[in-house]
Protein backbone atom coordinates (compact mmCIF):
# COMPACT_ATOMS: atom_id res chain seq x y z
CA UNK A 1 0.00 0.00 0.00
CA UNK A 2 1.25 3.47 -0.75
CA UNK A 3 2.24 4.67 2.69
CA UNK A 4 3.07 8.19 1.46
CA UNK A 5 -0.49 9.32 0.87
CA UNK A 6 -1.89 7.00 3.49
CA UNK A 7 -3.44 9.68 5.64
CA UNK A 8 -4.93 11.48 2.67
CA UNK A 9 -6.52 8.24 1.53
CA UNK A 10 -7.77 7.57 5.07
CA UNK A 11 -9.32 11.01 5.16
CA UNK A 12 -11.09 10.36 1.86
CA UNK A 13 -12.44 7.04 3.11
CA UNK A 14 -13.80 8.60 6.28
CA UNK A 15 -15.19 11.67 4.58
CA UNK A 16 -18.62 10.22 3.67
CA UNK A 17 -19.26 9.06 7.24
CA UNK A 18 -18.26 12.36 8.80
CA UNK A 19 -20.20 14.27 6.17
CA UNK A 20 -23.32 12.31 7.07
CA UNK A 21 -22.75 12.81 10.79
CA UNK A 22 -22.20 16.52 10.18
CA UNK A 23 -25.43 16.78 8.20
CA UNK A 24 -27.81 14.72 10.31
CA UNK A 25 -26.26 14.97 13.79
CA UNK A 26 -23.88 17.88 14.29
CA UNK A 27 -25.63 20.50 12.15
CA UNK A 28 -29.01 20.06 13.89
CA UNK A 29 -27.38 20.29 17.33
CA UNK A 30 -25.33 23.39 16.54
CA UNK A 31 -28.20 25.06 14.69
CA UNK A 32 -30.58 24.30 17.57
CA UNK A 33 -28.40 25.91 20.25
CA UNK A 34 -27.27 28.86 18.13
CA UNK A 35 -30.71 29.66 16.78
CA UNK A 36 -32.64 29.48 20.04
CA UNK A 37 -30.06 31.00 22.36
CA UNK A 38 -28.23 33.53 20.17
CA UNK A 39 -30.48 34.48 17.25
CA UNK A 40 -34.06 34.26 18.52
CA UNK A 41 -33.13 35.70 21.90
CA UNK A 42 -30.67 38.53 22.37
CA UNK A 43 -27.23 37.15 23.31
CA UNK A 44 -26.95 39.63 26.16
CA UNK A 45 -29.94 38.01 27.89
CA UNK A 46 -28.28 34.59 27.74
CA UNK A 47 -26.50 34.62 31.14
CA UNK A 48 -29.74 35.59 32.88
CA UNK A 49 -31.70 32.88 31.05
CA UNK A 50 -29.12 30.26 31.97
CA UNK A 51 -29.09 31.26 35.65
CA UNK A 52 -32.87 31.39 35.90
CA UNK A 53 -33.35 27.99 34.20
CA UNK A 54 -30.58 26.16 36.01
CA UNK A 55 -31.68 27.47 39.40
CA UNK A 56 -35.41 27.04 38.75
CA UNK A 57 -37.24 24.74 41.12
CA UNK A 58 -38.31 22.06 38.56
CA UNK A 59 -34.75 21.91 37.22
CA UNK A 60 -33.24 21.55 40.69
CA UNK A 61 -35.67 18.78 41.61
CA UNK A 62 -35.10 17.01 38.29
CA UNK A 63 -31.31 17.31 38.66
CA UNK A 64 -31.41 15.76 42.13
CA UNK A 65 -33.77 12.99 40.96
CA UNK A 66 -31.65 12.30 37.86
CA UNK A 67 -28.43 12.00 39.85
CA UNK A 68 -30.02 9.89 42.54
CA UNK A 69 -31.68 7.48 40.09
CA UNK A 70 -28.56 7.28 37.93
CA UNK A 71 -26.37 6.50 40.96
CA UNK A 72 -28.80 3.80 42.11
CA UNK A 73 -28.93 2.28 38.63
CA UNK A 74 -25.13 2.36 38.32
CA UNK A 75 -24.73 0.67 41.72
CA UNK A 76 -27.35 -2.02 40.99
CA UNK A 77 -25.95 -2.83 37.54
CA UNK A 78 -22.48 -3.10 39.11
CA UNK A 79 -23.64 -5.37 41.95
CA UNK A 80 -25.62 -7.62 39.58
CA UNK A 81 -23.23 -7.37 36.65
CA UNK A 82 -19.96 -8.18 38.42
CA UNK A 83 -20.88 -11.78 39.39
CA UNK A 84 -22.40 -12.42 35.95
CA UNK A 85 -19.28 -11.16 34.17
CA UNK A 86 -17.11 -13.20 36.56
CA UNK A 87 -19.16 -16.30 35.81
CA UNK A 88 -18.88 -15.69 32.04
CA UNK A 89 -15.13 -15.11 32.24
CA UNK A 90 -14.62 -18.45 34.00
CA UNK A 91 -17.00 -20.74 32.11
CA UNK A 92 -17.23 -22.07 28.60
CA UNK A 93 -19.43 -24.37 26.56
CA UNK A 94 -23.14 -24.69 27.19
CA UNK A 95 -23.30 -22.73 30.46
CA UNK A 96 -21.40 -19.82 28.92
CA UNK A 97 -23.69 -19.82 25.88
CA UNK A 98 -26.81 -19.89 28.03
CA UNK A 99 -25.80 -16.91 30.19
CA UNK A 100 -24.66 -14.96 27.12
CA UNK A 101 -28.06 -15.67 25.57
CA UNK A 102 -29.84 -14.25 28.65
CA UNK A 103 -27.71 -11.09 28.52
CA UNK A 104 -27.68 -10.55 24.74
CA UNK A 105 -31.36 -11.11 23.90
CA UNK A 106 -32.61 -8.29 26.16
CA UNK A 107 -29.66 -6.11 25.03
CA UNK A 108 -30.85 -6.16 21.43
CA UNK A 109 -34.56 -6.02 22.18
CA UNK A 110 -36.22 -2.66 21.65
CA UNK A 111 -36.12 -0.42 24.75
CA UNK A 112 -39.85 0.22 24.41
CA UNK A 113 -40.55 -3.53 24.43
CA UNK A 114 -38.31 -4.09 27.46
CA UNK A 115 -40.02 -1.24 29.31
CA UNK A 116 -43.45 -2.57 28.35
CA UNK A 117 -42.54 -6.03 29.66
CA UNK A 118 -41.77 -4.57 33.11
CA UNK A 119 -44.96 -2.51 33.06
CA UNK A 120 -46.89 -5.74 32.48
CA UNK A 121 -45.05 -7.32 35.42
CA UNK A 122 -45.23 -4.47 37.92
CA UNK A 123 -48.63 -2.90 37.21
CA UNK A 124 -51.40 -2.68 39.82
CA UNK A 125 -53.06 -5.69 38.19
CA UNK A 126 -49.71 -6.88 36.90
CA UNK A 127 -48.24 -10.35 36.95
CA UNK A 128 -46.24 -9.87 40.16
CA UNK A 129 -49.26 -8.61 42.09
CA UNK A 130 -51.47 -11.37 40.62
CA UNK A 131 -48.99 -13.99 41.82
CA UNK A 132 -48.54 -12.42 45.27
CA UNK A 133 -52.30 -12.10 45.85
CA UNK A 134 -52.90 -15.55 44.38
CA UNK A 135 -50.41 -17.08 46.81
CA UNK A 136 -52.12 -15.29 49.71
CA UNK A 137 -49.01 -13.34 50.70
CA UNK A 138 -50.74 -9.98 50.33
CA UNK A 139 -54.37 -8.85 50.16
CA UNK A 140 -54.00 -5.47 48.48
CA UNK A 141 -51.87 -5.00 45.33
CA UNK A 142 -48.47 -3.40 46.05
CA UNK A 143 -47.69 -0.06 44.40
CA UNK A 144 -44.85 -1.38 42.24
CA UNK A 145 -45.31 0.76 39.14
CA UNK A 146 -45.23 4.55 38.61
CA UNK A 147 -42.59 5.34 41.22
CA UNK A 148 -38.80 5.61 41.57
CA UNK A 149 -38.52 1.91 42.38
CA UNK A 150 -40.06 1.04 38.99
CA UNK A 151 -37.72 3.47 37.20
CA UNK A 152 -34.66 1.90 38.82
CA UNK A 153 -35.85 -1.63 38.01
CA UNK A 154 -36.63 -0.73 34.39
CA UNK A 155 -33.41 1.19 33.79
CA UNK A 156 -31.27 -1.48 35.47
CA UNK A 157 -32.85 -4.01 33.13
CA UNK A 158 -32.06 -1.89 30.08
CA UNK A 159 -28.50 -0.94 31.10
CA UNK A 160 -27.21 -4.13 32.76
CA UNK A 161 -25.80 -5.59 29.49
CA UNK A 162 -23.49 -2.58 29.04
CA UNK A 163 -22.03 -3.25 32.49
CA UNK A 164 -21.72 -7.01 31.98
CA UNK A 165 -20.02 -6.68 28.58
CA UNK A 166 -17.55 -4.05 29.83
CA UNK A 167 -16.64 -6.07 32.95
CA UNK A 168 -16.38 -9.28 30.95
CA UNK A 169 -13.85 -7.69 28.58
CA UNK A 170 -11.76 -6.52 31.56
CA UNK A 171 -11.90 -9.92 33.28
CA UNK A 172 -11.05 -11.83 30.11
CA UNK A 173 -7.84 -9.80 29.83
CA UNK A 174 -6.59 -10.91 33.28
CA UNK A 175 -3.63 -13.26 33.24
CA UNK A 176 -4.81 -16.35 35.21
CA UNK A 177 -1.27 -17.10 36.38
CA UNK A 178 -1.42 -14.02 38.63
CA UNK A 179 -4.22 -15.36 40.84
CA UNK A 180 -2.65 -18.81 40.72
CA UNK A 181 0.63 -17.36 41.94
CA UNK A 182 -1.20 -15.64 44.79
CA UNK A 183 -2.79 -18.91 45.86
CA UNK A 184 0.47 -20.84 45.50
CA UNK A 185 2.11 -18.32 47.83
CA UNK A 186 -0.47 -19.15 50.49
CA UNK A 187 -3.04 -16.35 50.17
CA UNK A 188 -6.66 -17.34 50.84
CA UNK A 189 -9.29 -16.90 48.14
CA UNK A 190 -10.71 -13.69 49.58
CA UNK A 191 -7.26 -12.13 49.87
CA UNK A 192 -6.46 -13.08 46.27
CA UNK A 193 -9.74 -11.54 45.11
CA UNK A 194 -9.27 -8.35 47.15
CA UNK A 195 -5.60 -7.75 46.39
CA UNK A 196 -5.13 -9.25 42.93
CA UNK A 197 -8.34 -9.95 41.00
CA UNK A 198 -10.49 -6.95 41.91
CA UNK A 199 -7.72 -4.34 41.38
CA UNK A 200 -7.14 -5.85 37.92
CA UNK A 201 -10.83 -5.39 37.06
CA UNK A 202 -10.95 -1.87 38.48
CA UNK A 203 -10.62 -0.10 35.12
CA UNK A 204 -13.54 -2.23 33.89
CA UNK A 205 -15.55 -1.26 36.96
CA UNK A 206 -14.81 2.42 36.29
CA UNK A 207 -15.56 2.23 32.54
CA UNK A 208 -18.72 0.22 33.10
CA UNK A 209 -19.98 2.56 35.81
CA UNK A 210 -19.20 5.61 33.67
CA UNK A 211 -21.00 4.31 30.60
CA UNK A 212 -24.05 3.27 32.64
CA UNK A 213 -24.11 6.63 34.45
CA UNK A 214 -23.66 8.57 31.18
CA UNK A 215 -26.55 6.69 29.55
CA UNK A 216 -28.68 6.99 32.72
CA UNK A 217 -28.59 10.77 33.06
CA UNK A 218 -29.97 11.19 29.54
CA UNK A 219 -32.58 8.43 29.86
CA UNK A 220 -36.07 9.18 28.69
CA UNK A 221 -38.30 6.28 27.62
CA UNK A 222 -38.22 4.13 30.75
CA UNK A 223 -38.62 6.91 33.38
CA UNK A 224 -41.33 8.58 31.27
CA UNK A 225 -43.39 5.38 31.16
CA UNK A 226 -42.59 3.80 34.54
CA UNK A 227 -42.19 6.83 36.80
CA UNK A 228 -44.87 8.57 38.83
CA UNK A 229 -46.08 12.13 38.24
CA UNK A 230 -43.41 13.52 40.59
CA UNK A 231 -40.51 11.45 39.26
CA UNK A 232 -39.27 13.79 36.57
CA UNK A 233 -35.77 13.35 35.17
CA UNK A 234 -33.93 16.08 33.25
CA UNK A 235 -34.51 14.48 29.82
CA UNK A 236 -38.25 14.32 30.56
CA UNK A 237 -38.28 17.95 31.67
CA UNK A 238 -36.67 18.93 28.37
CA UNK A 239 -39.24 16.98 26.37
CA UNK A 240 -42.13 18.42 28.40
CA UNK A 241 -41.02 22.01 27.99
CA UNK A 242 -41.22 21.49 24.24
CA UNK A 243 -44.29 19.26 23.92
CA UNK A 244 -46.41 20.85 26.63
CA UNK A 245 -45.28 24.38 27.42
CA UNK A 246 -43.57 25.10 24.05
CA UNK A 247 -40.86 26.89 25.99
CA UNK A 248 -37.92 26.55 23.60
CA UNK A 249 -35.38 28.77 25.45
CA UNK A 250 -35.84 26.79 28.69
CA UNK A 251 -35.61 23.46 26.85
CA UNK A 252 -32.47 24.63 25.06
CA UNK A 253 -30.68 25.76 28.23
CA UNK A 254 -31.55 22.51 29.98
CA UNK A 255 -30.34 20.55 26.93
CA UNK A 256 -27.08 22.49 26.91
CA UNK A 257 -26.59 21.75 30.61
CA UNK A 258 -27.28 18.02 30.16
CA UNK A 259 -25.15 17.86 27.02
CA UNK A 260 -22.14 19.51 28.70
CA UNK A 261 -22.31 17.18 31.70
CA UNK A 262 -22.59 14.17 29.35
CA UNK A 263 -19.65 15.30 27.22
CA UNK A 264 -17.51 15.97 30.31
CA UNK A 265 -18.19 12.44 31.57
CA UNK A 266 -17.54 11.02 28.09
CA UNK A 267 -14.16 12.82 28.11
CA UNK A 268 -13.28 10.98 31.34
CA UNK A 269 -14.56 7.71 29.85
CA UNK A 270 -12.43 8.38 26.76
CA UNK A 271 -9.32 8.66 28.94
CA UNK A 272 -9.90 5.49 30.96
CA UNK A 273 -11.25 3.18 28.25
CA UNK A 274 -10.14 1.54 25.08
CA UNK A 275 -12.98 3.05 23.09
CA UNK A 276 -13.44 -0.08 20.98
CA UNK A 277 -14.50 -1.94 24.10
CA UNK A 278 -17.67 0.09 24.11
CA UNK A 279 -20.63 -2.28 23.89
CA UNK A 280 -18.21 -5.18 24.23
CA UNK A 281 -17.20 -4.68 20.58
Amino acid sequence: MAQTNSSRQALLLMLPSYAMLALTFLAPLVWFFVRVLLIDASPSALPDTIVSVVTSRPMLIATVATNWISLLVTATTLLLGYPIAYYLANRDGMRFALVVFCVIVPYFTSVIVRTYSWMVLLGRNGIVNQLLIGSGLIQEPLPLLYNKFAIVVGMTYVLLPYMVLTLYAAMKAIDPTLTRAGKALGADAFYVFRRIYFPLTLHGVISGSLIVFILSIGFFITPALMGGPSDVMVAMLIERSIEITLDWPTATVMSLFLLLVTLALYAIYYRVTDIRRLMGG
Partner: protein, 262 residues
Amino acid sequence: MERATERILPLFVTAICLVLILPIAIVIVLAFSGQTFLKFPPDSYSLRWFAAFFGNARWQASLWSSVVIAVIACVIATSLGFFAAYAFVRHDFAGKKFLLSLMLLPIIVPTVITAIAMYFLSAKFGLVGNVLWIGACHAALALPVVLLILLSTLQGVDVNLERAALSCGSSWPRMMLRVVVPLAAPGIVSSALFAFLASFDELIVSLFLTNAATQTLPVRIWNSLHLEVEPTIAAVSAFLIAVTAAVLLLDRVLRGRRAAKA
Protein backbone atom coordinates in the same frame (compact mmCIF):
# COMPACT_ATOMS: atom_id res chain seq x y z
CA MET B 1 -14.77 -19.03 50.98
CA GLU B 2 -13.90 -20.44 47.60
CA ARG B 3 -16.26 -23.35 48.04
CA ALA B 4 -19.04 -21.04 49.21
CA THR B 5 -18.50 -18.84 46.15
CA GLU B 6 -18.56 -21.84 43.86
CA ARG B 7 -21.89 -22.84 45.33
CA ILE B 8 -23.56 -19.42 45.56
CA LEU B 9 -22.34 -17.96 42.26
CA PRO B 10 -24.23 -20.36 39.93
CA LEU B 11 -27.41 -19.85 41.97
CA PHE B 12 -27.05 -16.08 41.84
CA VAL B 13 -26.28 -16.08 38.11
CA THR B 14 -29.22 -18.41 37.41
CA ALA B 15 -31.56 -16.12 39.34
CA ILE B 16 -30.38 -13.01 37.46
CA CYS B 17 -30.62 -14.80 34.13
CA LEU B 18 -34.20 -15.78 34.89
CA VAL B 19 -35.03 -12.16 35.76
CA LEU B 20 -33.37 -11.08 32.51
CA ILE B 21 -35.19 -13.47 30.23
CA LEU B 22 -38.57 -13.93 31.97
CA PRO B 23 -40.03 -10.50 31.15
CA ILE B 24 -39.43 -11.16 27.46
CA ALA B 25 -40.73 -14.73 27.71
CA ILE B 26 -43.87 -13.54 29.52
CA VAL B 27 -44.61 -10.93 26.84
CA ILE B 28 -44.36 -13.66 24.19
CA VAL B 29 -46.76 -15.93 26.13
CA LEU B 30 -49.20 -13.04 26.71
CA ALA B 31 -49.21 -12.29 22.99
CA PHE B 32 -50.90 -15.67 22.48
CA SER B 33 -53.47 -15.04 25.22
CA GLY B 34 -57.13 -15.61 24.45
CA GLN B 35 -58.29 -13.03 26.99
CA THR B 36 -58.92 -9.31 26.80
CA PHE B 37 -56.89 -8.52 29.90
CA LEU B 38 -53.34 -9.49 30.76
CA LYS B 39 -53.37 -12.51 33.03
CA PHE B 40 -50.45 -14.85 33.49
CA PRO B 41 -50.58 -17.68 32.73
CA PRO B 42 -53.54 -17.03 30.38
CA ASP B 43 -56.62 -19.24 30.82
CA SER B 44 -56.87 -19.74 27.08
CA TYR B 45 -54.64 -19.23 24.08
CA SER B 46 -55.41 -17.75 20.67
CA LEU B 47 -53.96 -15.79 17.79
CA ARG B 48 -56.53 -13.01 18.11
CA TRP B 49 -54.00 -10.32 19.11
CA PHE B 50 -51.78 -11.17 16.18
CA ALA B 51 -54.89 -11.03 13.99
CA ALA B 52 -55.66 -7.62 15.51
CA PHE B 53 -52.10 -6.50 14.69
CA PHE B 54 -51.80 -7.91 11.17
CA GLY B 55 -55.42 -7.19 10.29
CA ASN B 56 -55.31 -3.52 11.25
CA ALA B 57 -54.49 -1.14 8.40
CA ARG B 58 -52.92 1.44 10.72
CA TRP B 59 -50.60 -1.09 12.39
CA GLN B 60 -49.69 -2.34 8.91
CA ALA B 61 -48.87 1.19 7.76
CA SER B 62 -46.60 1.56 10.81
CA LEU B 63 -44.89 -1.74 10.10
CA TRP B 64 -44.30 -0.70 6.51
CA SER B 65 -42.90 2.66 7.49
CA SER B 66 -40.63 1.04 10.11
CA VAL B 67 -39.25 -1.33 7.46
CA VAL B 68 -38.72 1.39 4.83
CA ILE B 69 -36.94 3.71 7.29
CA ALA B 70 -34.79 0.86 8.67
CA VAL B 71 -33.74 -0.26 5.16
CA ILE B 72 -32.71 3.30 4.25
CA ALA B 73 -30.78 3.71 7.52
CA CYS B 74 -29.16 0.31 7.10
CA VAL B 75 -28.00 0.99 3.52
CA ILE B 76 -26.59 4.43 4.38
CA ALA B 77 -24.88 3.41 7.63
CA THR B 78 -23.39 0.17 6.31
CA SER B 79 -22.04 1.57 3.05
CA LEU B 80 -20.53 4.70 4.58
CA GLY B 81 -19.38 2.94 7.74
CA PHE B 82 -17.56 0.28 5.73
CA PHE B 83 -15.13 2.79 4.24
CA ALA B 84 -14.59 4.53 7.56
CA ALA B 85 -13.92 1.22 9.31
CA TYR B 86 -11.47 0.30 6.55
CA ALA B 87 -9.62 3.58 7.07
CA PHE B 88 -9.43 2.99 10.84
CA VAL B 89 -8.09 -0.55 10.44
CA ARG B 90 -5.67 -0.12 7.52
CA HIS B 91 -4.33 3.38 7.98
CA ASP B 92 -2.27 5.08 10.62
CA PHE B 93 -2.96 8.71 11.17
CA ALA B 94 -2.91 11.30 13.92
CA GLY B 95 -5.93 11.57 16.18
CA LYS B 96 -7.30 8.13 15.33
CA LYS B 97 -8.77 7.44 18.76
CA PHE B 98 -10.27 10.91 18.90
CA LEU B 99 -11.89 10.59 15.45
CA LEU B 100 -13.31 7.20 16.44
CA SER B 101 -14.74 8.61 19.67
CA LEU B 102 -16.44 11.36 17.62
CA MET B 103 -18.20 8.73 15.55
CA LEU B 104 -19.57 7.11 18.68
CA LEU B 105 -21.09 10.40 19.91
CA PRO B 106 -24.60 9.66 18.56
CA ILE B 107 -25.02 6.91 21.18
CA ILE B 108 -23.52 9.06 23.97
CA VAL B 109 -25.43 12.32 23.49
CA PRO B 110 -28.86 11.94 25.15
CA THR B 111 -31.19 10.96 22.32
CA VAL B 112 -33.85 13.39 23.51
CA ILE B 113 -31.50 16.31 22.79
CA THR B 114 -30.48 14.88 19.40
CA ALA B 115 -34.10 14.24 18.49
CA ILE B 116 -35.28 17.73 19.47
CA ALA B 117 -32.41 19.33 17.53
CA MET B 118 -33.17 17.16 14.49
CA TYR B 119 -36.84 18.12 14.75
CA PHE B 120 -35.95 21.80 15.00
CA LEU B 121 -33.97 21.66 11.74
CA SER B 122 -36.37 19.27 10.00
CA ALA B 123 -39.36 21.50 10.72
CA LYS B 124 -37.58 24.44 9.12
CA PHE B 125 -36.96 22.54 5.89
CA GLY B 126 -40.29 20.69 5.85
CA LEU B 127 -38.59 17.33 6.42
CA VAL B 128 -40.79 16.10 9.28
CA GLY B 129 -42.40 12.86 8.10
CA ASN B 130 -39.98 12.42 5.20
CA VAL B 131 -38.90 8.76 5.36
CA LEU B 132 -35.67 9.34 3.43
CA TRP B 133 -34.59 12.01 5.91
CA ILE B 134 -35.67 9.98 8.96
CA GLY B 135 -33.67 7.05 7.55
CA ALA B 136 -30.62 9.32 7.20
CA CYS B 137 -31.05 10.51 10.81
CA HIS B 138 -31.35 6.93 12.01
CA ALA B 139 -28.20 6.12 10.03
CA ALA B 140 -26.28 8.51 12.28
CA LEU B 141 -27.44 6.49 15.30
CA ALA B 142 -26.69 3.17 13.56
CA LEU B 143 -23.20 4.21 12.40
CA PRO B 144 -21.46 3.42 15.73
CA VAL B 145 -22.94 -0.09 15.67
CA VAL B 146 -21.76 -0.70 12.10
CA LEU B 147 -18.34 0.70 12.88
CA LEU B 148 -17.74 -1.46 15.96
CA ILE B 149 -18.69 -4.66 14.10
CA LEU B 150 -16.69 -3.86 10.95
CA LEU B 151 -13.57 -2.82 12.90
CA SER B 152 -13.23 -6.33 14.28
CA THR B 153 -14.22 -7.94 10.96
CA LEU B 154 -11.67 -6.02 8.90
CA GLN B 155 -8.92 -6.74 11.42
CA GLY B 156 -9.44 -10.37 10.49
CA VAL B 157 -8.82 -9.76 6.78
CA ASP B 158 -5.20 -10.60 5.87
CA VAL B 159 -3.53 -7.44 4.57
CA ASN B 160 -1.11 -9.56 2.52
CA LEU B 161 -3.96 -10.65 0.26
CA GLU B 162 -4.70 -7.00 -0.46
CA ARG B 163 -1.02 -6.30 -1.12
CA ALA B 164 -0.84 -9.32 -3.43
CA ALA B 165 -3.84 -8.13 -5.45
CA LEU B 166 -2.41 -4.63 -5.76
CA SER B 167 1.08 -5.79 -6.75
CA CYS B 168 -0.42 -8.09 -9.37
CA GLY B 169 -1.78 -5.00 -11.04
CA SER B 170 -5.29 -4.79 -9.63
CA SER B 171 -6.63 -1.29 -9.20
CA TRP B 172 -7.64 -0.21 -5.68
CA PRO B 173 -11.42 -0.28 -6.30
CA ARG B 174 -11.14 -3.68 -7.97
CA MET B 175 -9.06 -5.02 -5.08
CA MET B 176 -11.68 -3.76 -2.61
CA LEU B 177 -14.50 -5.31 -4.59
CA ARG B 178 -12.82 -8.65 -5.35
CA VAL B 179 -10.73 -9.21 -2.20
CA VAL B 180 -11.87 -7.19 0.83
CA VAL B 181 -15.64 -7.23 0.31
CA PRO B 182 -15.89 -11.02 -0.25
CA LEU B 183 -13.61 -11.75 2.73
CA ALA B 184 -15.48 -9.34 4.99
CA ALA B 185 -18.91 -10.29 3.62
CA PRO B 186 -20.22 -12.08 6.75
CA GLY B 187 -19.24 -9.09 8.91
CA ILE B 188 -20.73 -6.63 6.44
CA VAL B 189 -24.02 -8.54 6.43
CA SER B 190 -24.16 -8.75 10.22
CA SER B 191 -23.36 -5.05 10.59
CA ALA B 192 -26.18 -4.35 8.14
CA LEU B 193 -28.51 -6.54 10.20
CA PHE B 194 -27.71 -4.72 13.43
CA ALA B 195 -27.98 -1.34 11.69
CA PHE B 196 -31.43 -2.37 10.49
CA LEU B 197 -32.36 -3.43 14.01
CA ALA B 198 -31.03 -0.20 15.54
CA SER B 199 -33.35 1.82 13.31
CA PHE B 200 -36.27 -0.61 13.43
CA ASP B 201 -36.34 -0.44 17.26
CA GLU B 202 -35.54 3.28 17.60
CA LEU B 203 -38.19 5.33 19.37
CA ILE B 204 -37.11 8.83 20.38
CA VAL B 205 -35.94 10.25 17.04
CA SER B 206 -38.96 8.67 15.33
CA LEU B 207 -41.22 10.19 17.97
CA PHE B 208 -40.12 13.68 16.93
CA LEU B 209 -39.54 13.21 13.20
CA THR B 210 -42.48 11.09 12.07
CA ASN B 211 -45.98 12.36 11.39
CA ALA B 212 -49.34 10.56 11.43
CA ALA B 213 -48.64 9.02 8.02
CA THR B 214 -45.15 7.71 8.78
CA GLN B 215 -45.46 6.61 12.43
CA THR B 216 -43.19 3.64 13.12
CA LEU B 217 -44.06 0.60 15.26
CA PRO B 218 -42.20 1.80 18.40
CA VAL B 219 -43.98 5.17 18.15
CA ARG B 220 -47.36 3.45 17.94
CA ILE B 221 -46.50 1.29 20.93
CA TRP B 222 -45.44 4.42 22.83
CA ASN B 223 -48.72 6.18 22.00
CA SER B 224 -50.78 3.15 23.02
CA LEU B 225 -48.88 2.69 26.30
CA HIS B 226 -50.01 6.12 27.44
CA LEU B 227 -53.60 4.95 27.07
CA GLU B 228 -53.68 1.40 28.36
CA VAL B 229 -51.71 -1.84 28.44
CA GLU B 230 -53.76 -3.70 25.83
CA PRO B 231 -52.83 -7.18 24.59
CA THR B 232 -52.34 -6.04 20.97
CA ILE B 233 -49.18 -4.35 22.25
CA ALA B 234 -48.03 -7.75 23.53
CA ALA B 235 -48.47 -9.18 20.03
CA VAL B 236 -46.59 -6.25 18.44
CA SER B 237 -43.87 -6.61 21.08
CA ALA B 238 -43.63 -10.34 20.41
CA PHE B 239 -43.24 -9.48 16.73
CA LEU B 240 -40.39 -7.04 17.50
CA ILE B 241 -38.75 -9.68 19.71
CA ALA B 242 -39.04 -12.16 16.84
CA VAL B 243 -37.26 -9.70 14.54
CA THR B 244 -34.47 -9.31 17.13
CA ALA B 245 -34.23 -13.09 17.49
CA ALA B 246 -34.03 -13.50 13.71
CA VAL B 247 -31.20 -10.95 13.50
CA LEU B 248 -29.27 -12.61 16.36
CA LEU B 249 -29.76 -16.04 14.80
CA LEU B 250 -28.56 -14.89 11.36
CA ASP B 251 -25.56 -13.25 13.01
CA ARG B 252 -24.76 -16.55 14.78
CA VAL B 253 -24.84 -18.40 11.47
CA LEU B 254 -22.62 -15.78 9.83
CA ARG B 255 -20.18 -15.87 12.74
CA GLY B 256 -19.92 -19.62 12.29
CA ARG B 257 -19.01 -19.02 8.67
CA ARG B 258 -16.48 -16.37 9.61
CA ALA B 259 -14.87 -18.77 12.08
CA ALA B 260 -14.83 -21.53 9.46
CA LYS B 261 -13.07 -19.22 6.99
CA ALA B 262 -10.39 -18.14 9.43
